[in-house]
């Protein structure tokens, strides 16, 4: 709530800054004071060069490029890691490097495998001889490539395994009598936080233990990917938790866990609300049934939108420098970007917490023991 207000406030202040700055830039351009002809010549040359290079600068495209998944992982300058492409078509599995999708000038080219493949807007498509998309054939194409997001996900998995297994081993090594040390003391408060603030209040102390591994795994996976996404360079920089596929997978996992563990009274409350008139029951059933699906969908969209919005915000601020084509814009853009980055750190934790919190709440709702006598009495 606070954050949303904050973001709208920022948008207003940013547009103000933009208006102010554009006039300032114009003012700067008007008096071209030059002492010598030589200086003027070099300045003009520089300006014309920049204009040529940055004239076709497209903010939307640049930002989307950073937000979207990619087959290669850009490191610096012209160096990037070409990730493997794994395709499944009617002719079977196919492996090749994503290097094959570009030529030496980084222009997209057609790769001739079992079919003719080409990257169209970052997605692998089957093209015909003329280079046009073969929509029918592309529908049969399953892209299991190790993309930037997948690679980043694997990195986060490795980090999680290393950190958490070493933390868990510390308990075996030092026993329970001594105070936690090092990475163990960093992890233990978070684990306790998930247990005491998320699992137990929502699920209940008795059943919470059963769902703790699930909730902890979700929490740490989202948290790690959120933090990795905030690092602007390798091994971060991928927008995993701001990717709808990632959030969808987790939301589906929550959906499965909630509905597999749901007890009889949960389903009864959905299809035949106790303590209601039969007409009301008929009226409520479809609404409650939709609710079963909207809960995980809201989880999916909340995480995706929050993280993507944060990335877009930071990238927009950085793009200000290129929009105004002056280095002085960075005086505004960089502090704001740092400020938003700080907020994003909070959001990274908050969103992991909210996702886990709501997952625990849904599990709690599905496994809650209802006391019908009191329930019905309350309704009448």
């Amino acid at each position: 709530m606070y954050l949303n207000r904050f973001k709208s406030l920022l948008v207003v202040s940013l547009s103000l800054v933009a208006i102010l700055f554009s006039t300032a830039v114009m003012a700067n351009e008007n008096p071209v004071v030059a002492d010598t002809n030589h200086a003027v010549a070099t300045a003009e040359a520089a300006v014309s060069h920049e204009a040529k290079k940055e004239g076709d600068f497209n903010v939307t495209e640049t930002i989307l490029e950073h937000i979207k998944d990619d087959h290669s992982w850009h490191l610096w300058g012209h160096t990037s890691i070409h990730l493997p492409v794994i395709l499944y078509t009617s002719k079977g599995l196919e492996f090749f490097s994503s290097e094959k999708f570009v030529d030496e000038h980084h222009e997209p080219v057609v790769y001739h495998g079992n079919f003719d493949y080409k990257l169209i807007e970052g997605k692998t498509k089957i093209v015909d001889a003329n280079g046009n998309i073969d929509a029918a054939a592309s529908k049969q194409l399953w892209d299991f490539s190790i993309t930037k997001n997948v690679a980043s996900l694997f990195i986060s998995v490795i980090i999680l395994l290393l950190v958490l297994l070493s933390a868990a081993n510390a308990y075996k090594r030092t026993g329970i009598k001594s105070a936690p040390k090092g990475v163990q003391s960093l992890m233990e408060p978070i684990v306790l936080f998930v247990r005491d603030e998320v699992a137990i209040p929502n699920i209940g102390a008795k059943k919470a233990g059963k769902y703790m591994p699930f909730l902890l795994t979700i929490f740490f996976l989202i948290l790690t990917n959120n933090f990795l996404g905030l690092i602007p360079f390798f091994p971060g920089g991928a927008n995993v938790s701001g990717n709808i596929a990632f959030t969808m997978t987790l939301a589906v996992c929550v959906f499965i866990v909630v509905n597999l563990n749901a007890n009889k009274s949960y389903w009864e409350h959905i299809f035949w609300m106790p303590g209601m008139h039969w007409s009301m029951k008929l009226f409520l059933a479809p609404i409650e049934l939709i609710g079963v699906f909207t809960k995980p969908i809201s989880l999916m969209i909340r995480l995706f939108a929050n993280i993507t919005a944060g990335h877009i915000l930071v990238l927009s601020l950085i793009c200000l420098i290129f929009i105004f084509k002056t280095v002085f814009a960075s005086a505004i853009a960089v502090p704001f970007a740092v400020f938003i980055g700080m907020i994003e750190l909070l959001v990274a934790f908050l969103q992991a917490f909210i996702f886990t919190m709501l997952a625990a709440m849904y599990i709690g709702m599905a496994t809650e023991e209802h006391h019908h006598e009191s329930h019905e009495a309350a309704h009448h």
């Binding site: 997948v150 009598k177 233990e188 596929a245």
Partner: protein, 169 residues
């Protein structure tokens, strides 16, 4: 498809697939080797701490009870000490008194004995003196009588004198 309007909201099957695998691997591996030992250790520690706290409370209560008991014992001991001292005092006083009385009676007895002895010896002495005086008197009287009786006329005169002395009333 509607979702294809914006590439951002179109989920890639590849990421879904790998993410599912990654999540399941994490869930299984971490669940078995990280969360389970961690939660177990935390629970054990917590139960250990609560047990220790309970124990400490119990100990505290025990110590308080012991202190009370000690105080009672101490008071009792003090009382007993006072009694013992009092008794000892009484006993000693009694002993002193007894000794005094005994000494006095002994003294009295010795005194009486001494007096008696003195008395007896005095009597004996007196008797002795009396006897000796008697003997002397008899001796002297005999000598006197022998001398007196050798003269008949004088004898008669003396008897007459004696007879005169006796008054018949």
């Amino acid at each position: 498809m509607l979702l294809e309007i914006n590439p951002l909201v179109l989920p890639d099957i590849g990421l879904v697939f790998w993410n599912t695998i990654a999540f399941l691997v994490l869930l299984i591996v971490l669940g078995k080797f990280a969360w389970k030992p961690m939660l177990k250790a935390i629970n054990e520690r917590e139960s250990g701490i609560s047990e220790a706290l309970l124990k400490a409370d119990k100990m505290k209560a025990e110590i308080t009870a012991m202190q009370n008991e000690n105080e009672v014992l101490l008071a009792k001991a003090r009382e007993e000490r006072a009694i013992i001292i009092k008794e000892a005092k009484e006993a000693s006083e009694k002993m002193v008194n007894e000794a005094k009385e005994k000494a006095k009676s002994e003294y009295d007895r010795i005194l009486a004995d001494a007096q008696m002895a003195i008395h007896q010896q005095k009597n004996a002495a007196i008797t002795d003196v009396k006897n000796q005086v008697g003997a002397l008197v008899i001796d002297v009287a005999e000598k006197v009588l022998r001398k007196e009786l050798s003269n008949k006329a004088e004898q008669e005169a003396y008897i007459k004198q004696l007879a005169d002395g006796v008054k018949l009333n």
